[in-house]
Amino acid sequence: MIDRRSLIPSAFALAGLLQVGAAVAAERTFVVGGENKNSNITFESETDFETILGHTNTASGQVVADLEAGTASVDVQVPVATLDTGIELRNKHLQSGDWLDAKQNPDLRFVSRSARKLDDGSWEIAGDFSLHGVTKPLTIRAQVKPIPADAAKAAGLGKGDWLRVATPFELQLSDFGIEVPSKVAGRVSDIWKVKLNLFVNAKS
């Protein structure tokens, strides 16, 4: 014979487990990069000589987010060797030891420490940005927009749910131990405006 009183704590425990399960289910992992070319990362340098718009479509990493609860963690890497400034020779200089030193420091990386949702689409993410072997704290404002699976499929983006993450921020190269070589001084700015446009795909 089953004692009904002994069932009550079990029922509470089960309900608790279900709640935990629901919370875990709300947190989803989204993959950056992979096979898709949907990411668009740009950097901009402005001087009296010229404005440089460099870009890459290559990024990797992941975003783990609970959009309802407003919690997230981010880890994004961009290979230095893929940065394209529009001129082959300048790309070689950029990746050389005088500049970003792609051999010693092959990736730019942002790893979040905390994230909070400001409103429906805006997030403030604090983390560490690594460039040229130097890691500095960086806080960014990101616009995060969920892309429904059917809209993504209709556009040819791919299967599953997606997030569009867009964030602009500024970097000062000298903060990361990068000195603009004297022979190009005045042609490349110490301050780069960076924009990350990432389409991240939910893990099925």
Binding site: I41, E44, T51, L53, I87, K145, A155, G156, N197
Partner: protein
């Protein structure tokens, strides 16, 4: 050197100085006319993948930035030289916008600010050349005058 040769040096140096001075004055005018004739203001952008553009267009609503639909744009428009209409994208969402996608290496337009930078360099160089030639001309003329004058007995 004979007084005639020195006078010729002075004459040619003076002509050179004038030519450099005129070129220094004409360079900015030529750049201004080139900008007026073949320059245009565009918003450079790194284009998105076509699937992303399709998606962005389906999600776009009035009031949102238009350039971001097509790519990652620069923060400010840039004046460029010798870019034909066929290379400029005029979005249906805002036909007043002139977007210039710059996708890969070697496809970058000449920027007007680079032209003016070269002009400034040219003006300084020609100005310095003009001054130097004027100095040579004055020196050669003085020596020619001295060489031509009768020696005291």
């Amino acid at each position: 050197m004979s007084s005639n040769a020195l006078a010729a040096v002075a004459r040619w140096a003076r002509r050179g100085a004038w030519a450099a001075l005129v070129a220094a004055l004409l360079l900015p005018l030529a750049a201004y006319l080139a900008d007026l004739g073949w320059g245009r203001e565009v918003l450079l952008l790194a284009p998105h993948d076509p699937s992303v553009v399709t998606l962005n267009r389906s999600l776009w609503s009035a009031g949102e930035p238009v350039a971001d639909v097509y790519g990652s744009p620069m923060s400010e428009p840039t004046r460029v030289l010798l870019i034909g209409d066929q290379k400029v994208l005029r979005p249906v969402e805002d036909p007043k916008l002139s977007l210039l996608p710059v996708a890969s290496a070697g496809k970058r337009p000449i920027q007007i600010r680079t032209l003016w930078w070269a002009v400034r360099l040219g003006v300084v160089g020609l100005g310095a050349t003009s001054t130097a030639l004027l100095g040579i001309s004055l020196l050669a003329r003085r020596r020619a005058t001295l060489a031509a004058s009768p020696h005291p007995a």
